[in-house]
């Protein structure tokens, strides 16, 4: 197993006697799912970990105990240990794999104090997210195929977004239809934020509000499958858009296209933000190129790594690398129009950005 070989090699390079890849069972769109990536299994319970020795022995601890059978079936790790007492099982695994010295911890940001305290009694611990991140940085052909599959699911989600953005539909009904369309197309989870109204402030969860003529409906359409996310940011206006809305959306399109034109392997990732901010600043919106008027100009997606980062801004240090999955979104609050959504996900290539979804990025107009 290449992942295991790579982990053992990197543990050796980092002078680690073992590695623990931990998950509290949550999934965060802006954070890698290290355990899911490493074990090939989406953990369910509150505490789960792969424990790896410097000799390449590995045990997968799964809570609750009854979820061990699923883990055994789905993970490549043969030694699966179901438990309802994670702290005890973790200590037992460390001792049975004869792990000594300093142990690396990936996913430590999710680890509660009481688990860490128990772990610290067994071994010295040091953060080691970078080990899994480094392994995951190069996507396998299977991962790339998954990325493309999820991109087509996002298109299905957008079609539902467009179809159901009509007068009388409640916000939560719109989200329900998007979720349904994406699950039917193969998503196993979804991240959908939206807002509606004549002047939106930010994206949020849906309320019971009914869509009305003149509404601007914005959405982050983000299906997930096996931990891989793809995002489309779209705006639909119900009824004839005002000239100022058309003009400002064109500005965002211009900024987005210019940024995408800069996306290429080995370019600094900060170029996305500096390009978008540059165009918006030239148009007189420099003071809006910061929170609370926007969050970020894009971010990476991936199961084991979200490089080049969860926030792409002008200060982002990392370069873009081949086969990274990056969303470029000049989502922006503008005083004349409110918050607008505009963005696409790309695969970074040596010659440029490969667009992953097929639906067009533009201001969509639905009949009132």
């Amino acid at each position: 197993m290449k992942k295991l070989d790579d982990a053992v090699r990197l543990m050796d390079e980092h002078g680690l006697g073992g590695l623990i890849v931990y998950s509290n069972g949550t999934v965060n769109i802006l954070r890698a799912s290290y355990l899911q990536y490493f074990a090939g299994f989406a953990p369910m319970g509150p505490n789960n970990a792969a424990v790896i020795s410097s000799t390449g022995e590995v045990a997968l601890i799964v809570e609750p105990a009854w979820d061990a059978r699923r883990a055994q079936r789905l993970s490549w790790i043969g030694d699966v240990r179901g438990t309802d007492d994670f702290r005890n099982a973790l200590g037992t695994a460390i001792r049975s794999l004869e792990i000594t010295g300093t142990v690396g911890l990936a996913g430590g940001a999710e680890m509660p104090h009481r688990i860490y305290e128990a772990l610290y009694k067994e071994v010295q611990v040091r953060p080691a997210d970078e080990i899994i991140d480094a392994i995951a940085r190069t996507k396998s052909p299977e991962e790339l195929a998954l990325v493309k599959k999820v991109a087509s699911i996002a298109d299905a989600g957008f079609e539902a977004f467009r179809l159901f953005s009509r007068v009388g539909v409640r916000e939560y009904e719109l989200v329900a239809e998007m979720e349904y369309a994406m699950r039917c197309a193969g998503a196993d989870d979804n991240f959908i934020l939206m807002s509606s109204g004549p002047h939106n402030i930010a994206m949020r969860n849906p309320t019971g509000r009914r869509l009305a003529a003149g509404d601007i409906v914005i959405g982050e359409i983000t299906p997930v499958r096996e931990g891989q996310f793809i995002q489309l940011c779209r705006t639909v206006v119900i009824g004839e858009p005002s000239p100022v809305l058309v003009e400002r959306y064109d500005l965002l399109i211009r900024a987005w296209l210019a940024a995408v034109g800069q996306v290429k392997a080995n370019e600094p990732a900060s170029i996305i933000a500096s390009t978008i901010d540059g165009i918006l600043s030239e148009a007189g919106y420099a003071r809006y190129c910061q929170p609370p008027y926007m969050r970020t100009r894009g971010h990476g997606f991936g199961v084991g790594s979200v490089a080049p980062g969860a926030t792409l801004d002008r200060e982002t240090k990392l370069p873009l690398l081949e086969n990274q999955v990056v969303v470029v979104h000049p989502n922006q609050y503008l005083p004349e129009t409110g918050y607008l959504a505009c963005g696409e996900t790309y695969l970074v290539g040596t010659a440029g950005a490969e667009r992953l979804s097929h639906t067009e990025t533009r201001l969509y107009v639905n009949e009132a």
Binding site: N24, G25, T26, V27, N28, I29, A42, M44, G45, P46, P64, A65, W66, D67, R69, R70, G108, A109, E110, M111, P112, H113, R114, I115, Y116, E117, R170, E171, Y172, E173, V175, A176, E177, E179, Y180, R183, C184, G186, D188, D189, N190, F191, I192, L193, I201, A202, R204, N205, P206, T207, G208, V224, F229, P291, P292, R295
Partner: protein, 381 residues
Amino acid sequence: MQTLQPTLRLGRDVWDSVDMPAEEFRARVDKLRAEMARSAIDALLLYGNGLDECGYPTYISNYSTKLPFAALVILPREGELVLMFQGSTRGQSAAQATTWIEDSRPCWDIAETCVAALTERGLLSSTLGLAGVRRLMPYDQWQKLSAAFVDGERVDAEPLVDKVRAVKSDREVARVRHASRIICGALDGLEGTGSIAGDESMVATRLMHDARIQGAEDVRVLIARPAEPGWAFRPPEDSPLRESETVIIHMAASWERYWSEAVRTYTVEPGNFQALWEKTQERQFQTVIAKLQPGRSIGEFAESARREMGTANAAVIDEYGLGHGIGVTAKEWPVISLSNVSPHDQVVVERGMCFSIRLALPDPYRGFTIRGETIVANDLV
């Protein structure tokens, strides 16, 4: 029952301040303050994170985490409450629309914000009751928070808060009932002609859609297929269903913060599911849940459940347990164990307690049938 957490709680998110007014939350504050006075606690720190473990702050604030982020409420014995939640300032107006607490603070560092708020209120060196903090807070956050506690005392307040949370008001019960209606409607829909096509995932997709359209904010589905070797409940997969096969569905959903759960056993028929719930089973089920009456103990219920299920059927659900409390989280105190000696056996049922329970009853055709319901005291929701 433990389910796979989604990335985002993406359903309807509203606070109906007419049906669930601020007075309701003030009454909860009063109850907790009375308990705090008895235990000489100056302030409670009510912490939670993620989509499964945010019950403490949600109970008192109505604010609910939608992402794997954290929230914390400082409830002082005197003075106003403070709500802090991980999120950007852009999200404050949406968050404020769902809580009655006026002092709400979006932040990224909960520990730092908590220390600042405690310092402002002069509470840093007082006796603090911790609920969820030690058990759930990530270690780096806990280290930062505990480093600020130089004087004063920290006590475990989870038992105190759990007991207050366990007894629901009429408004809370109404929400649990509403969530139950959403679930039952969706599960009943599986029995309609032509309702089932495709694989396990499509069954879950249909259930989720039905629940979302009814306003569910979070929906979870597990499936079990007893024909599989070593079967267990698990998230649905892209696996086709076989005619005449037995399929067990666990569904949980929340509505305006309150959860309900149900389990149904079906036989797969062409185009739909058949529940095949026998009168004898209904009688047995009612016999057992009748024990969840105010004044009786959890142990009495467990004993009755063991008797009606029999040893062999009890073994089927042993690893999942008989049930637990349910409310602003899908799993709450008390836990109802199948074992003969459980720490919660002595808990006496009170009016307004809500339980998610599951039984494996004898079945002449399938060997056993698992049925789960959400119960208010002895009243089937």
